[in-house]
C-alpha cells in the first residue's frame, strides 16, 4: 500500500461534502482508504492512527485542507488525488437543483398548472405536512421520504381515500404511472398488466421480467411497505387495487407484497373477490407451492400468461424445467475446497430480494441469519458481521442512514464483498444488481474489481434486474459482470436456487 497526500492551503468545504468526497475516493479502484480533513493537530493525530499521515502534512495549519489517499499503487493513489479536486469542485458548485425554481409546493403548482401528482422527498418530519398540502390541493402523492410517523401516514391515507386520491408511500421508492417511471424504476414496455406492490425492488423485478418477455405494464403503483401493516390497514394497497380494477387499460392485476397483517389480507381478499379481472397475488412467504406463485418470477410469468390468454400452469412448468438444470450447473461451480468453505453470504441492495432469498433458502440450507429476518430466520446480532448462512439487506434503514442507498453507492457493498471473500467460511457470495433510473449509472464498473477479486476465492452468483431500455442496459451490465467472474442468473429467484444447489451438499 502507498499513501499519498496533498495540502490545499486555505481551502475549506462543508464537513458533509468532505466526508462524502472521502467516501467516494475510498470506493475508487485500488483505494483502501481516503481522507479529507482540515489540518488541525487533532486531525493529524487521527490521520496518523489511520495510517494516512504523510510528511507533507507536518506543517499544515488549522485552515488548510488535507487530502490523503491509501491505495494499492502510486498510479491508483495519484488518480484518486486528482479525482479529489474534481469532486470537491463539484461539491462546491451550486448544484443543478439550486437553479432558480419553485421553492415550495405552491410555487411548483403555479409553475406546472394541471399537474396532478406531487413527488415528495424531504426529511420524514417535514414530509407529512407537505403531503397534506398536496392532498388538499387535489394532488396524488408519491412520498419517497421515510421516517414519516405512523399516525401521520394513517391520517394522510384516510384523507386521500376520502378524496379519491392515492398516497404512495411513505418510503415508496418505485412507481410507473402512465408510462412515466418515478424514482427508482425501469424503462419498461407499456401494456395491460397493472401492478400494486408494497415491495419496491419486487415491483422493479416483476415489471422488468414482464417487459423483457414482451409483455407490458399499464400502471405500477407502490404503496410503501408499511401500508399492509395492521395499523395502516392496507388503505392504499386496496385503493390501488380498485384503481386498477377501474382502469380500462389494465386487463390483469398483479399484487406483490411481503406478508400482510392477517386482517389486511382478509380485506384485500374481499376486494379481490369483487374484481372481474384476473388477479395474481404474490405474498412472499405465504404462497402454497404448486398452487400460488412463490417467487417474483413465478408471479410475473403467471401474470404474463394470463395477459396473453395462455395457461399459467404451462408457464410454471417451463420454469420448473429450467430449474432442474441448476443441479448440473452447480456441480460446475463447486470448487474443491476444505470443509470450512460452506456458507452463503447474500449481500442485497433490494429488501424484497433479501426476503425472497430467505423464503427460498430457509428449507434448503437450514439455519439462516439476516438483519431483516423473516419467519424462521435468525436475527443477526451485528449487521456488519456475517454468521453462518447470512442474507443482509444493505439497503435497510439501519445501514443507510447518512449514506446513499446501495443501489446508488456501491462502496459499502464492495467493501463487504471483499471481506466476505476473505472469510474462510464463505463458499458463495450472492448479489442483486438493480438498474434503472435512480440506480448507479455504471454498476459493472463499480463491481468488476471486487467481484473479480472475490471470484478468485469463492463462487459469485448474481442477478441483474433491468431492461435493455434502462440507461445502463441490462445485457451490457450482465456481460461485464460475467467477464469479471460472476455467474449471472436471469432473476433473483434463479440465483437463489442455484446457490441452494451449490451449497446443498455442504449444508
Amino acid at each position: 500500500m502507498i499513501v499519498l497526500g496533498r495540502v490545499r492551503k486555505g481551502a475549506y468545504h462543508d464537513s458533509v461534502a468532505l466526508m462524502r468526497v472521502g467516501r467516494e475516493l475510498g470506493a475508487m479502484p485500488g483505494v483502501a482508504d481516503a481522507a479529507l480533513m482540515m489540518g488541525t493537530r487533532s486531525n493529524r493525530a487521527i490521520l496518523e492512527s489511520s495510517g494516512l499521515l504523510v510528511p507533507e502534512f507536518e506543517h499544515a495549519g488549522d485552515a488548510d485542507l488535507l487530502i490523503a489517499v491509501k491505495a494499492a499503487n502510486a498510479d491508483q493513489a495519484g488518480a484518486a488525488l486528482a479525482a479529489a479536486d474534481t469532486l470537491l469542485r463539484a461539491a462546491k458548485r451550486p448544484g443543478a437543483s439550486a437553479a432558480p425554481g419553485p421553492r415550495d409546493l405552491e410555487g411548483a403548482v403555479e409553475a406546472l398548472p394541471g399537474a396532478n401528482l406531487a413527488l415528495i422527498s424531504l426529511a420524514g418530519r417535514y414530509a407529512g405536512p407537505e403531503a397534506l398540502k398536496a392532498l388538499q390541493r387535489g394532488l396524488h402523492v408519491m412520498l419517497f421520504s421515510d421516517n414519516v410517523p405512523l399516525e401521520v401516514e394513517v391520517r394522510l391515507k384516510k384523507l386521500a381515500r376520502s378524496k379519491g386520491l392515492l398516497v404512495m408511500g411513505p418510503d415508496c421508492g418505485t412507481a410507473i404511472l402512465n408510462g412515466a417511471p418515478l424514482a427508482f424504476a425501469n424503462v419498461v414496455r407499456r401494456g395491460d398488466i397493472g401492478v400494486v406492490a408494497a415491495a419496491g425492488t419486487g415491483l422493479q423485478e416483476v415489471t422488468c421480467l414482464i417487459s423483457n418477455r414482451g409483455g407490458g405494464i399499464s400502471q405500477a403503483i407502490g404503496t410503501g411497505g408499511r401500508d399492509v401493516k395492521r395499523e395502516v390497514g392496507g388503505i392504499m394497497f386496496i385503493e390501488g387495487l380498485r384503481a386498477l380494477a377501474a382502469d380500462p387499460a389494465t386487463r390483469v392485476i398483479l399484487l406483490v407484497s411481503k406478508p400482510p397483517d392477517p386482517s389486511v389480507l382478509r380485506a384485500i381478499r374481499r376486494v379481490v373477490r369483487g374484481i372481474r379481472k384476473p388477479v395474481v397475488s404474490l405474498l412472499l412467504g405465504e404462497g402454497r407451492p404448486g398452487r400460488d406463485p412463490v417467487t417474483l418470477e413465478e408471479a410475473a410469468l403467471a401474470a404474463l400468461a394470463l395477459s396473453r390468454g395462455r395457461s399459467v400452469e404451462s408457464a410454471l412448468r417451463r420454469l420448473a424445467a429450467r430449474d432442474a438444470a441448476f443441479g448440473a450447473m452447480a456441480r460446475g461451480l463447486r470448487r474443491p475446497r476444505g470443509g470450512r468453505h460452506r456458507y452463503l453470504r447474500g449481500l442485497f441492495s433490494g429488501g424484497t430480494f433479501c426476503a425472497e432469498a430467505q423464503v427460498l433458502l430457509r428449507d434448503v440450507l437450514g439455519e439462516l441469519h439476516s438483519n431483516v429476518p423473516g419467519r424462521g430466520v435468525q436475527r443477526l446480532a451485528d449487521a456488519w458481521k456475517s454468521r453462518g448462512h447470512t442474507l443482509v439487506d444493505l439497503g435497510d434503514d439501519e445501514l443507510t442512514v447518512g449514506r446513499p442507498h446501495p443501489m446508488m453507492d456501491y462502496s459499502l457493498r464492495n467493501r463487504r464483498i471483499l471481506e466476505e471473500a476473505r472469510d474462510p467460511a464463505t463458499a458463495v457470495i450472492l448479489l442483486d444488481v438493480v438498474l434503472g433510473y435512480g440506480a448507479h449509472p455504471d454498476p459493472a464498473a463499480e463491481l468488476a474489481g471486487p467481484l473479480g477479486e472475490a471470484a478468485k476465492r469463492v463462487a459469485v452468483v448474481c442477478s441483474v434486474t433491468g431492461t435493455a431500455g434502462d440507461p445502463q442496459n441490462r445485457a451490457k451490465v450482465a456481460a461485464a459482470l460475467k467477464k469479471a467472474g460472476a455467474t449471472v442468473m436471469p432473476t433473483n429467484a434463479a440465483a437463489c436456487k442455484l446457490c441452494g444447489e451449490i451449497l446443498r451438499e455442504r449444508a
Binding site: 466526508m19 488541525t40 486531525n43
Partner: protein
C-alpha cells in the same frame, strides 16, 4: 446594504472575506470575526442578518461605529436568558433533547456519544479513528465534570484535579472533525454554554438576564464552575478563527438566538418546546448543531446537580 439584526458583540473595523458558504459569509480582521448571514441562519452575537435567503457576495466589510447602533437595525442581545428552573422538569427536558438528538441528528455527528448504535455509521478506518479520539476526549471531560466535588466539600486539590482532567479531554477533542468548524470544537462550545447555564443558575440570577462573563458568579459553587470553564476555555482555544470565535463567545455566555431558545426551553419549557428548539439547533451547519447540542446536553447532565 440593509441589515435586519446586528449582533451585540460585533465590533467596528475593516474586515476581509474569510470563508463563503451558501447562507453565510465570514469576515475577519485577523483577530475578530463578523458573519453576514441570511435570515434563515438568524441572529447571533457576531452576526449581521441581511434579508433574503443568501447574503450578497462581497470581499470586504467596513463597519463604523454608527453602522452598528440601534438606529440602524435591531441589536440582538446574545446573553443567555434563563427562566425559573425546576429540577425534575429540567431532567425530563434533557431526556427530550437526547431523544431528538439520537433520532434526528446527522449520522456522522457526535450524537453517537448518546447512543452507541450510531457508531455503526462510522464505517471506514478514518471515521472510526475520529470516533475513538472523540470518545477518549469526552471521557476525560466527563471524568472532570462529573467528579468535581460540590463547593461545600471542595478542596483545592480536588478541583484542580477535575480541572486538569477536563482540560486534558478538551485538548484531545479540540480540532477533531472534518470541516472548518470541527465537531470537537462545536462540542466544546456546547460544554462551555452548559457551564454558563450552571454558573448562572448558581448565581441565583434566575428569571433575569445575566452577563455570564469570565468572572465566576454564584458563591463557592459558582467559583468551582468558573474554574472549570476557564480550564475548558484555556485548553479549547483553536487555531481556526471560526471555531475560536464560537468558543470564546460560548465561554462568555453569548449565543445565537437558536441556542437561547433551546436553553430557555430546557430550563422552563415543555417537551414540545424542547423538541422544536432542538430541531432549530440541529439545522445549524451540517453537523455543527448536533455536535454543539451533544456537548451542551452531556455537560448539563454531568453538572446537573448544580442546576436549580
Amino acid at each position: 446594504m440593509r441589515i435586519v439584526s446586528i449582533g451585540d458583540q460585533v465590533q467596528p473595523g475593516r474586515y476581509a472575506l474569510h470563508s463563503r458558504f451558501r447562507r453565510a459569509l465570514n469576515f475577519t480582521d485577523g483577530r475578530r470575526l463578523v458573519s453576514l448571514v441570511s435570515e434563515e441562519v438568524g441572529p447571533g452575537p457576531l452576526n449581521l442578518v441581511v434579508p433574503g435567503s443568501a447574503p450578497p457576495p462581497r470581499e470586504q466589510l467596513v463597519l463604523r461605529r454608527q453602522d452598528l447602533g440601534p438606529d440602524r437595525a435591531r441589536v440582538y442581545d446574545s446573553s443567555l436568558h434563563l427562566a425559573r428552573c425546576n429540577r425534575r422538569r429540567f431532567r425530563r427536558n434533557l431526556a427530550a433533547l437526547e431523544a431528538t438528538l439520537v433520532a434526528e441528528s446527522h449520522p456522522l455527528s457526535l450524537a453517537f456519544l448518546l447512543d452507541r448504535r450510531r457508531l455503526a455509521r462510522f464505517t471506514n478506518p478514518l471515521e472510526r479513528a475520529l470516533a475513538k479520539r472523540v470518545r477518549t476526549g469526552v471521557g476525560a471531560i466527563r471524568a472532570g465534570l462529573a467528579k468535581t466535588p460540590r463547593a461545600a466539600r471542595a478542596t483545592s486539590a480536588a478541583v484542580a484535579h477535575a480541572c486538569a482532567s477536563t482540560a486534558r479531554g478538551v485538548r484531545t477533542l479540540a480540532g477533531c472533525g472534518f470541516g472548518l468548524t470541527p465537531s470537537g470544537d462545536d462540542f466544546i462550545a456546547g460544554v462551555l454554554v452548559a457551564l454558563c447555564v450552571v454558573e448562572q443558575s448558581r448565581a441565583g440570577r434566575v428569571g433575569r438576564r445575566a452577563e455570564a462573563g469570565p468572572r465566576p458568579r454564584g458563591g463557592a459553587s459558582g467559583r468551582v464552575v468558573g474554574r472549570l470553564k476557564n480550564a475548558v476555555l484555556g485548553a479549547g482555544r483553536s487555531g481556526s478563527i471560526l471555531a475560536a470565535s464560537a468558543i470564546e463567545m460560548a465561554a462568555r455566555g453569548r449565543v445565537p438566538a437558536r441556542t437561547q431558545r433551546l436553553v430557555a426551553a430546557l430550563a422552563g419549557g415543555d417537551r414540545d418546546e424542547v423538541v422544536s428548539a432542538a430541531r432549530a439547533v440541529l439545522a445549524m451547519g451540517s453537523t455543527s448543531g448536533a455536535d454543539f447540542a451533544t456537548g451542551l446536553l452531556l455537560a448539563l447532565r454531568w453538572g446537573a446537580r448544580w442546576v436549580g
